[in-house]
């Protein structure tokens, strides 16, 4: 079992979610976050004075899936989140020890 954490462009969120649904992976959590990687922010201005905005809005997806599904999931996310420009985001993969579906008490892959 693995957890996939993807940090992507907010405007690409819809595309990624649609693509995941098409592949039949319903379980996903989305968080609106702020941050920056190599892309270090924007310069905005107010009444003639410029200021730097370091943290840009991004969307974070958290998905837990079986070991077999990981590669396909990561590829689907990467394909649909990509624009080729700086700021497309990153995907991280973590091992997950176990899972439990609260309603039924199922554990392991069955709980996903």
């Amino acid at each position: 079992m693995k957890e996939i954490r993807a940090i992507i462009r907010v405007e690409k969120l819809r595309d990624v979610l649609d693509a995941l649904e098409e592949k039949g992976h319903p379980g996903v959590s989305v968080t609106r976050i702020e941050g920056h990687g190599r892309q270090t922010g924007l310069v905005e201005q107010f009444r003639g004075r410029e200021f730097k905005v370091d943290l840009l809005p991004k969307a974070r997806l958290d998905i837990v899936c079986t070991d077999e599904d990981v590669e396909q999931m990561v590829q689907t996310i990467a394909e649909n989140a990509k624009t080729g420009g700086i700021g497309d985001g990153k995907i991280f993969i973590y091992p997950v020890q176990d899972a439990l579906r609260i309603r039924t008490g199922e554990t392991g892959d069955l709980a996903l």
Binding site: Q45, F46, R47, G48, R49
Partner: protein, 456 residues
């Protein structure tokens, strides 16, 4: 509680005493209309324009709250309402009498207090309404310069003092046949609709307030470099500027105090031309510096042009309005950067818009007046500036004297007022309240309760 009730009782008794005074005026208006049936259209003109000027309060409320942060919006809206509320009562009690009452040595008016006795008269009430909405405009300018850190209680006292004394005294000197209007240069000091009387007074009292208060937390970094503190709603700021521009069509053309002077058409055109030229100039100046089209500065620019043309609008042609506007654009942009460099924090640009450009408007009369309009009259003697003979620059000298006097009076009174208030009740909210926002601490009512607003 008992004490408060007894105060109200004495107030009621006092009003009753005023009410039984003798009537020698014309409270019905019938006699005034019979004497001159043309008055009807003048009354409608002045009142409609006065209503437009009152609506400028909404414009100021929008500009100021839009240019400030969401955590202080309730506070700014309350200040904009209450300065009109407190100011109206203060102006009725004393202010109007100081402007338009019987002149005492060219310094003060000394009758018509509480609109009592002979003042129960349509002509006086018309004049009162007109002067009231102007006084309230001067009062509301200051709230922008002192925004986001001035205690509400101090603001109430300030509102009363500017409408009781600071504004009326200077307005008497210029508009109430006081000493400035009788200067032996040109036709005396002239300020058609109040670049000096209204805007420079508001702007320089605001400057004094901003200096005594000190900058907002975070306005300057630890090396003293100014930082932008972006306003929470550029839409509100833009809407407010449109409302103010619209209101100015009452402010300037209405100042003829007569619909029989068709010069009102010229005044309306000049008002718009100057605002347009100033707005474009301000936007281009910032474009040259940062490479971006800055709406905030373009809005400040439009207001700067409106302020600058307020004094000369009746005495000039459209081309002069455009030139005055271009200079106004330079002044407002330069003013904003200058105040930042001097470590003075004026959150909405009120000092640059109203103070600096108010003074420029006064001087512009002495330069561009082209001899086609007189002293609030379409008949001679006409007003002539430096470019049009102007009898050896006399008018310019009168304007220069007025400009120096308005700066000294407004800044001096403002400094004394805010220093005294600071010593007696304190004028600045404590640092924790400032970070949290004045809305919750002073009013208990956040302006946007269903949105997340970062609070410390």
């Amino acid at each position: 509680m008992l004490k408060r009730i007894s105060i109200l009782f004495y107030l009621a008794l006092f009003l009753l005493v005023i009410a039984v005074g003798a009537w020698a005026g014309d409270p019905t208006g019938a006699a005034t209309l019979k004497a001159d049936p043309g008055k009807a259209v003048d009354y409608v003109w002045v009142l409609v324009c006065g209503f437009l000027v009152m609506f400028m309060q909404a414009g100021f409320a929008c500009v100021e709250s839009g240019f400030c942060r969401a955590k202080n919006v309730t506070n700014l809206m309350t200040k904009n309402l209450l300065d009109f509320v407190v100011g109206s009562l203060a102006f009725w009690a004393v202010g109007f009498g100081i402007i338009m009452g019987t002149d005492w040595n060219g310094l003060l008016g000394s009758s018509k207090f509480f609109l009592a006795g002979n003042s129960y008269d349509v002509e006086t009430y018309l004049s009162f309404f007109w002067q009231l909405v102007f006084a309230a405009t001067a009062a509301t300018i200051v709230s922008g310069a002192v925004a986001e850190r001035l205690k509400f209680q101090s603001y109430l006292v300030y509102s009363a003092v500017i409408c009781l004394f600071i504004y009326p005294v200077y307005a008497h000197w210029v508009w109430g046949s006081g000493w400035l209007s009788k200067l032996p240069f040109g036709l005396g000091h002239l300020d058609f609709a109040g670049s000096g009387v209204v805007h420079a007074v508001g702007g320089f009292v605001g400057l004094a307030g901003a200096i005594v208060l000190g900058p907002r937390y975070g306005k300057f970094d630890k090396h003293g470099k100014p930082r932008a503190i972006p306003g929470h709603s550029i839409s509100l700021a833009a809407l407010g500027t449109f409302i103010l521009w619209f209101g100015w069509f009452g402010f300037n053309p209405g100042s003829t105090f007569s619909a029989h002077q068709l010069r009102i058409a010229v005044i309306a055109v000049n008002t718009t031309m100057c605002a347009a030229a100033a707005s474009l100039t301000a936007m281009l100046l910032v474009l040259g510096k940062t490479g971006k089209y800055d709406l905030g500065m373009a809005l400040n620019g439009a207001l700067a042009g409106l302020v600058a043309v307020t004094a000369p609008c009746a005495w000039i042609a459209a081309w002069a309005a455009v030139i005055i506007g271009i200079v106004a654009g330079f002044l407002v942009v330069g003013g904003v950067y200058l105040l930042d460099a001097l470590k003075i924090d004026d959150p909405v640009g009120a000092v640059s818009v109203h103070g600096f450009n108010g003074v420029w408007g006064l001087l512009a009369v002495g330069i561009f007046a082209d001899g086609t309009y007189g002293n609030y009259a379409t008949t001679a003697p006409f007003v002539q500036g430096l470019l049009f003979g102007g009898a050896g620059g006399g008018q310019f000298v009168a304007q220069l004297i007025g400009a120096v006097v308005v700066i000294a009076w407004a800044f001096g009174c403002g400094l004394i007022l805010f220093k005294v208030l600071d010593a007696v009740i304190g004028i600045r909210v404590d640092p924790h309240e400032e970070l949290q926002g004045l809305d919750i601490v002073e009013h208990g009512t956040p302006a946007y309760p269903e949105f997340y607003i970062p609070r410390v």
